[in-house]
Amino acid sequence: MNNRLRSIGLALAAPVAAFVFATVLSGIVLLIAGSNPFVAFGDMLRHGAKLETIIDMLNRATPLYLSGVAAAIGFKMGLFNIGVEGQYQMGAFFAAAAGGAIVLPNGLHLIFIVLVAMTVGALWAGFAGFLKVTCGVNEVISTIMLNAIATTGMLAWLTVKWRDGALSTNSGTKRIEESGHIPNLNWFVEIFTPDIKNSKELSGVIVIAIIVGIAYHLFINRSRLGYDLRASGINPRAARAGGVPPKRMIMIAMLASGAVAGLVGMVDILSRNNRYDQNFTPGLGFAGIAVALLGRNNPAGIAFGALLFAFLDASSSILQITGSASKEIVTIMQGVILLAAVVSYEYVNRIKEQEEIRQASIAVGAVAA
């Protein structure tokens, strides 16, 4: 039990140290830039505690979490799916286009849109997997090229091509009918606090994110396929000798990663904009990688990372209003937290390794404790 507490303590020490380090460093940067870091951080905390900000934060954390899980599935298999960015944008676009083109009964319409998003995301990622398996193309480069192909050319072109006919200036897909909107969860928020304003809505996609999180945990940590996947990620040769076909694992991991990536854009498509247009949120794919690394690919850890990044994003908007500092400081904070976290994870890992080696040699009796 003591051991367990100790290892949990070690696991938490790294991200906390990274956060403190990033806060101090950002504070120094703010000082140099001529702002008062205490005022700025104080503003952020005060603003962040407001109900509206918390709802913003949850709405922002939802896609970040999904994106983080998508990246983590790849990481667990030793694959660097840098292509979540392209996968979720393609997924969202086709889901919005398909969802706008037809009307189905309540529920069914929703499921249809979600399935289209997952399928397209999986295909876009699966293509990179296919190239790796058949031609040995490194997935880092191929997914990045696929990102560029999706975002620089294809989507811009498709959006114009499939825009809502009447308003050619207002490019975007046809608006999805009511039956394809996900209900908000304001009723749930009202249980805790009655004074929720109607302008803020807690997106129902958070439920999807929670389901995905649980499924991810069961898949990776409990299922046999998840075991095969992890084994293949840790040591592909050993896994192969143990009966795990490496190429199939690569395809499964890429398809699963891409399918989850397809869900990332759902907050925009199912609840905020209900179409794919210029208000669609870009950049969530790269943020997702950060969140996955921060959470060490652990289902709960990713949630923590997503909430932290979402908090920083949501609460920073106050800085512009009060003028206490430049709002961009949070992007630096996020970057520094990430870098400091990966470094300290590695450091803590080494301490843990040494500790285990010491314990093991005590057990062998090689040395008197």
């Binding site: 880092v140 090229m145 696929l146 811009a156 498709l158 430049s326 709002k327 992007t331």
Partner: protein, 411 residues
């Protein structure tokens, strides 16, 4: 036949590729419209050369890092730092200092990567990704603070440009290439026009970048420093056992890598855009890595790959109406056909089939359309990178220890 080609010296071989390449372009354009020389014009060559510089520099950056055993996927981020620092330096002290400041900015990123990967043993890709996430944030913050605009800087002053005397009419001498190009002789004029583009209106910055290619070959294969850098990427323990300070070599390699990426960023800001702009690097750091792979981890190879990848980039800027790109589709279709034949000859049936299928598709598309869609022109460079990797990935030789963690004493 291919075996005979390989017996030629590299320079002659590359010259031949160039002649054949330009011939194919000329022929494609002749089929397309008969009298329209955009694909082989001097501006096309100028654009290619100009757009190849960032790819070349990041590719060389990747080369230094991987040759010392560190995979540097953070080149993109270091390049972004280079764009901001380069712009800032240029605004404050002029373009020459601007380059240096850009190099410094990239080197800072390199230092960070070296710290994380070499000293702390963080996975190289993870550290690189982290830097790619941190760098745009830093650039945005700095831009807000210094330029009072989170996404853009004021316009920058570029370095002077030169044209070669006699060949391209520099210093009021005759313009031989230009004259020949104006005569409209099939192929010869195209050749002259294209060559003229390579030697006219050259930025000094471009010249510096190209000189770095032979300089790197010399440094890496002829000097003590180079040998010790390469051993860090091939077999670090062997180097260590002979008293080579591997950690130092790795630090130098990765910092130089960042510096080159920073230089690439400065070039983008100063020469290509004329200002710092958020997102202007557009993944060129990664294309540099692809050029490194396609160039088989050698400086000349990186240069060739950079020129190849840059051509469609330049064309997409030059060819807004998509007519020349349409001719380019024919070239792509033909090349894929050749690749299919080649792969079939090598006994790689799957590759041959894929190439043949793509080639056929491209032909059908070409004959069924009048112009190339804009998305194709914009994504052609990236598609090209992907295609090239698909067909080249297997015959290549990366440094043996690239990407592997190294701890002193092997423990």
């Amino acid at each position: 036949m291919l075996a005979k080609l390989n017996a030629l010296p590299a320079a002659a071989r590359y010259m031949m590729y160039a002649f054949v390449g330009i011939f194919v372009l000329t022929a494609a354009e002749a089929i397309e419209s008969g009298d329209y020389g955009r694909l082989t014009s001097d501006t096309a060559a100028q654009f290619m050369l100009k757009w190849s510089v960032p790819i070349l520099l990041t590719g060389l950056g990747g080369l230094y890092a991987e040759r010392c055993g560190v995979v540097n996927i953070g080149l993109e981020g270091m390049m972004i730092l280079g764009t901001w620092f380069g712009a800032w330096g240029t605004l404050e002290w002029g373009p020459w200092v601007g380059i240096l400041v850009g190099i410094f900015g990239g080197a800072l990123g390199g230092l960070l990567h070296a710290l994380a990967t070499v000293t702390f043993g963080v996975d190289h890709i993870i550290s690189g990704v982290a830097i790619n996430i941190l760098a745009p944030g830093m650039a945005r913050f700095l831009s807000t603070e210094v330029f009072n605009n989170p996404t853009q800087s004021p316009t920058l002053k570029a370095l002077p440009k030169i044209s070669m005397p006699f060949l391209a009419g520099g210093w009021d001498t005759p313009d031989w290439f230009g004259d020949l190009a104006d005569r409209n002789i099939f192929y010869l004029s195209d050749l002259a026009g294209f060559s003229r583009g390579l030697v006219s209106q050259l930025s000094i910055f471009t010249l510096v970048a190209i000189i770095l290619v032979p300089a790197s070959t010399y440094l890496l294969w002829r000097t003590r420093f180079g040998l010790r850098l390469r051993i860090a990427g091939e077999h670090p323990l062997a180097g260590e056992s002979l008293g080579v300070n591997i950690i130092r070599q790795k630090y130098i390699g990765v910092i130089v890598s960042g510096a080159l990426a920073g230089m690439a960023g400065a070039f983008m800001a100063m020469e290509l855009s004329g200002f710092f702009q958020e997102g202007q690097t557009g993944g060129r750091g990664f294309i540099g890595l692809a050029a490194l792979i396609f160039g088989n981890w050698r400086p000349t190879g990186v240069l060739m790959a950079a020129l190849l990848f840059a051509y469609p980039f330049g064309m997409s800027r030059l060819d807004r109406d998509g007519t020349s790109s349409h001719a380019l589709m024919l070239v792509v279709a033909l090349s894929l056909g050749l690749v299919a034949l080649w792969a079939f000859g090598q006994g790689r049936r799957v590759h041959a089939a894929v190439a043949a299928f793509l080639s056929l598709g491209m032909f059908v598309w070409y004959f069924g359309s009048e112009t190339a869609p804009t998305w194709l022109t914009n994504t052609l460079p990236y598609l090209l990178v992907l295609l090239v990797l698909v067909f080249a990935a297997q015959r290549l030789r990366p440094p043996a220890a690239a990407g592997k963690p190294y701890r002193k004493g092997g423990t």
